[in-house]
């Protein structure tokens, strides 16, 4: 039986729906109406922004000592799976400060099984990062970066590329073609360019109205890479970027 919720009724319960407090049965009817009514969807989206904005007014608060380490630890030992699911290592979620150390040890043991890194390397790397000279320097990674420029409208910057080497290669790009007055809809293919002239495909992504951003694992050897490019599936280059190890010796 389809919903008999009218637009008028939806406007009445919309605020509760957007705040997530509409009880189950009413909620089902309202959601069914939204499936069929773009105007009401737009209305709910606006109210959801209001709800998010309200939560955004809450003040920040300092978590307990050790939180950063524990959480970073748990994030680096979960194995990524690319359908949006992941296997989680059995990590105790929290603990009092006195027990953190013990947990760190057992957690790194799990990391060895999960991703094959040296458990101690991961565990102590986090401790080093956390314990590092936080006041003076931000953490620095083995990172290449560059500005994507449009091939059509020459010289116009249309995005950024970050390529990261350790411990697993990873490339992240943002693309904003309209910034150069062009646009494109559909699939784009990304490549890394190597100094020897070869290219390495990173992946294909969909963009809408010429913009998007994505990240993907990729082999990143900082000494061999020279740039990145984004093309259409038929090979037309949309944008390219030189990549440099943004280092002090450049």
């Amino acid at each position: 039986m389809s919903s008999d919720v009218t637009c008028e009724k939806l406007r009445e319960v919309g605020p509760e729906l957007a705040l997530g407090v509409l009880p189950g049965r009413e909620r089902a009817g309202a959601v069914a109406h939204l499936d069929a009514c773009a105007d009401c969807r737009e209305y709910i989206e606006q109210l959801t922004l209001v709800g998010d904005g309200l939560i955004g007014l809450l003040p920040g608060s300092e978590p307990p000592v050790g939180f950063e380490t524990r959480v970073a630890q748990s994030l680096t030992q979960v194995t990524p799976v690319h359908e949006g699911h992941a296997r989680e290592a059995p990590v105790p979620r929290k603990g009092r400060p006195g027990r953190a150390r013990m947990r760190l040890v057992s957690a790194t043991a799990a990391a060895v099984v999960a991703i094959g890194f040296s458990g101690w390397a991961v565990g102590s790397a986090i401790e080093n990062v956390v314990a590092g000279p936080a006041t003076s320097a931000e953490p620095v990674a083995d990172m290449l970066s560059g500005d994507l420029t449009s091939v059509g409208a020459k010289g116009k910057m249309v995005g950024e590329v970050y390529a990261h080497a350790d411990p697993k290669g990873w490339v992240y790009m943002t693309l904003d073609l309209p910034h150069a007055g062009t646009s494109y809809d559909g699939k784009v293919v990304c490549f890394l360019e190597r100094k020897d002239g070869s290219t390495v495909p990173v992946g294909a992504f969909s963009i809408r109205d010429g913009s998007g951003s994505w990240g993907a694992p990729a082999p990143v050897d900082p000494s061999a890479l020279s740039g990145a490019r984004v093309t259409t599936p038929d090979g037309t280059v949309l944008a390219r970027a030189p990549l440099s190890q943004a280092g002090p010796n450049e």
Binding site: E16, L58, R70, G84, S244, Q245
Partner: protein, 195 residues
Amino acid sequence: MSRFRFPVGRLPDEALLSGLATGDPELAVTFVRRFQHTVFGVAIAVTGDPQLAEDIAQQTFERAWRHAQIYDARRGSVRTWLTAIAHNLAIDAVRSRQPEPVAPEDLESILGVVSDTPEQHALADEASSRLREAVAELPPEQGRALVMAGIYGMTAQQIADSEKIPLGTAKTRIRTAMGKLRSTLASPKRGDHVK
């Protein structure tokens, strides 16, 4: 052009989120460091329980990590996305733990905090400031209904019970308050893409 070795701390939020998949400890620490204050703040405001809030904050980061691929920048900033996750988890935790209503003094203090407009928020983006002002201008009973529903996740029925008012009145208060805030946000400024 002189560039410095690229500090992870300057990666855009979205890049950092995406980079968590590498398992890189520096990216993970940087990500947590950047958002923990916000995430824990939401969790503690809703639950009032530091231990539970810590648990929720940790789950928030884990969930964000697992769902990093479905994060859609068009729908809001990484920060907003994280606060929404933390908020949902906190509401669930509070609902399962204690069906009793929020203490009046907690309610008043949260209402005070979200409608507090002085200079300390000078750095906040314009949309937040306008929203804050709009909350401050609500009649107290509407402000309370808004906070009860929007922050504590109370249903209209629970609000009615707590305030000893008819259900219809509770619904009207929520609706009226939300309507005012919505028209506040609907003014010309589009999107809040900060650089």
